[in-house]
Amino acid sequence: MSDTFSFLLMAWLDPGLLSLTALGVLAGIYIGAIPGLSVTMAVSILISFTFSWDINNALALMVGIYVGGVYGGSRTAILLNIPGAPSAVVTAFDGYPLAQRGEAGRAIGLSTVMSVIGGFIGVAVLAGTAPYLSDLALQFAPRDYFLIAIMGLLLVSTLSGKSLARGIFSVALGSTIGLVGMDMVTAQPRLTMGSMELLGGIHYVVVMIGLFGVAEAFYQLHNMAKVPVKQNVDKIIPPLNMVLKFLPLSIRTSIIGVVVGALPGTGGDIASLFAYDHAKRTVKNPSSPFGEGAYEGLVAPETANNAAVGGAYVPMLTLGMPGDAVTAVIIGALVIHGLNPGPMLMIETPHIFWFTVGNLALANIFLLIFGMTGIKVFSKVVEIPKAILIPLILVLCVVGTYSINSNMMEVYWMLGFGILGYWLKVYGFQMGPIILGVILGPLLDETYRQAMSSVGDSSSDFLLALVANPLSLALTTVITLVLLGNTPLKGWIMARFARN
């Protein structure tokens, strides 16, 4: 027990580890804020860099960058409507309208506090239930991931804005983009039109930067004359009663985040989508309508994506299996440092587990500190004249895209998506459902084929499996209820009950 405590507090008491964690969080916030610069990339560069270091130092820096980076994606989402990372796409829905209302400072302050709350809940779940949660995550068969992807598709109704038909079209377009590249099963090129460059598919961050960054920059040209909103930077730290008011919602969305994050097939991007949907369904009287600057619409994704960090560590520390791309790279770092990430990690080197838990908690404290700094300066970004801001955004988009895979071809694609996104915006299409399709399309394709081949390609056995297993049955029931809830049937049943 005393050992556990000393491991937990290791990062807190050692000045070297303490400052590395702080440095990581600070660097992570800025890496995360730039679209295209990702935490995965930063952590893989660190592997070579920290090769000769002590493993604890390397891990402290990586934990810091991870926590800071997931949060950092929200900054540009709020200020410029350009999410710094896929898990911050949802943050832009209500964060950007808030900034347009002059509340950028308040939005960033709130998202910081909520990220920290989400982060702490994620750490608590990791510390308390890791072995059980990882056993639960292993229960998810390919068919269950398929059902989750279907549930994800139903989010289109939440993300479409005014026109559901346009939303459905956008999801279909996104899924098609997501399917470009080599077929996973047969290795045949799909929709590549003979191009070798397209064999690897179109990276979803390329699509995201194009649709959100470039398209937004072009769209802003419409209101060149509009004077930027004066930002109110007096009220940055959210008052306690506001935090308390959102506490029940933030706990629910954090739990969504940590569970979705712990599933090896899904991460913070999908978690934040589900959390937003949950908020929209359960919060009856938001501070403003959703999509027009509701604080609740900011609380849900920001808690969920930071809680997903703790979740992603669950399968990594208990089984040696990555919960997402970042933990995959951290596993590589452990291997290179001579440790054996696997089911024996917690038994043979328990200090790694408790050290990580303590370090994640510490990183969240630093997130609270650093997240509250620089907000005044950042908020001023919104006040920069468009003639300066728009070229800057375009440069940032190009640099960010190039840095994903150092591939010029992807920059051209990104610009192409920017132009496409601009026209879609002009004709009233939302960007959110397209990204939803890009993320879910490949997941649907993959898991449907896995589920079908598992039952010997028999459709009847496949349908039977969806209700024969308790977990699948639960997911199927939820999907059915959500579907029925959106049909006239619901009103009819309600009316019947009311009459009786």
Binding site: T40, M41, V43, S44, I47, S48, F51, S52, L138, Q139, F140, A141, P142, G181, M182, D183, M184, V185, T186, A187, M196, E197, L199, G200, G201, P264, G265, P315, L319, G320, M321, P322, A325, A328, V329, I331, G332, V335, I336, G338, N340, P341, G342, P343, M344, L345, I347, N405, S406, N407, E446, R449, Q450, S453, S454, V455, G456, D457
Partner: protein, 335 residues
């Protein structure tokens, strides 16, 4: 009379000196290393743990970049299009040797120069501890009586499981449901949750799971039992004829443009040979479940040719549906 002679002599000496200094100077700036697979994968792990030792020997920085996609086609294509000056290296796995066969690209490692074939991964056929089978022979027997019933994890056409499956089918018949995953990781996760019955995997991906009792090995793809996996029988016990294809495994190597000057090639070859042989890297590789090869020059070429011929022909004989062209048409000799 003398003057022109002296001049030309001076020029000759001068140019020699220039050439000499160019030789001695390599590498005079950072080298770019392209990894053809994503961050956190086996190729990435090998590249990132070997490179710091090479940097020390060459006294330069090697900037590593992952360029994944298209089973490595994109990364390799990138390096082949760079200048042949030794400042662009490719860290690759075995896949390019099958590109023409699968119709993915018209190049293979024959179109590059092998600096070093670092090592080879061992292969184990793994199952969940609850599985009724303790050896691969038992599994084969069940599959013969119940064709098309067992679920085998795979990673798609040309991946390691499909190649091992093809080798088995070249000497016997194994009719199973092929469930494809995005890589070793998702496959192992499905195996841990008993969503598939067995999966051929590289030892590096499952060694820890077997040691921790979360998975068990049914067979290793060797002709003798492994010291590191006592009690797991060699596959030859179940299928003696498969010995003709062994030793076989996924491999990792470092490559440069074919037209790179010879002196630079040899500088790189020496540096990598020394780094791979170093104690620290050897310890990593053993821990990682790999076997050292450390081959360069003709030996490396012979290894690559043999690997290609064994794999291509076993896939062809098993009539794997992914084989677009006969190995014969591509000029790949029979093993």
């Amino acid at each position: 009379m003398f003057k022109p002679l002296l001049t030309s002599l001076a020029v000759a000496v001068g140019s020699l000196a220039v050439a000499g200094s160019a030789l001695a100077d390599y590498p005079e700036r950072n080298i770019q290393g392209t990894i053809q697979w994503g961050a956190g994968g086996a190729t990435d792990n090998v590249a990132r743990s070997l490179t710091p030792h090479v940097e020390e020997i060459l006294d330069t920085t090697i900037v590593l970049t992952n360029r994944p996609g298209g089973t490595g086609v994109i990364g390799m294509n990138h390096v082949m299009r760079q200048r042949a000056d030794g400042y662009n290296l490719l860290y690759g796995a075995e896949n390019p040797q099958l590109y023409p066969l699968m119709g993915l690209a018209d190049f293979t490692y024959d179109d590059m120069h092998a600096v070093n074939i670092i090592g080879q991964g061992l292969v184990v056929i793994a199952a969940h501890p609850n599985s009724p089978f303790d050896t691969f022979a038992e599994l084969m027997e069940y599959a013969r009586e119940n064709p098309g019933e067992l679920r085998m994890g795979g990673t798609g056409a040309g991946g390691l499981p499909s190649t091992v499956h093809a080798m088995i089918n070249a000497v016997d018949e194994l009719d199973v449901r092929d469930v494809t995953f995005g890589g070793d990781g998702p496959g192992v996760t499905a195996l841990l949750g008993e969503h598939i019955d067995f999966m051929p995997l590289s030892l590096s991906a499952v060694a820890e799971q077997i040691r921790g009792g979360r998975l068990k090995g049914l067979a290793v793809l060797t002709s003798e039992e492994l010291e590191s996996l006592p009690g797991v029988p060699p596959i030859t016990q179940a299928l003696p004829d498969i010995e003709a294809f062994l030793p076989w495994g996924p491999f990792w190597g470092v490559f440069v443009h074919q037209d790179t000057p010879d002196d630079i090639k040899s500088t790189l070859e020496d540096a990598y040979e020394q780094a791979v042989a170093g104690d620290e890297f050897q310890e990593f590789l053993t821990n990682f479940g790999g076997a050292t090869l450390n081959l360069s020059g003709d030996e490396a070429q012979a290894y690559l040719d043999n690997w290609q011929s064994v794999t291509a022909w076993s896939m062809h004989e098993a009539e794997a549906e992914t084989v677009k062209v006969s190995p014969e048409e591509l000029g790949i000799p029979r093993p």
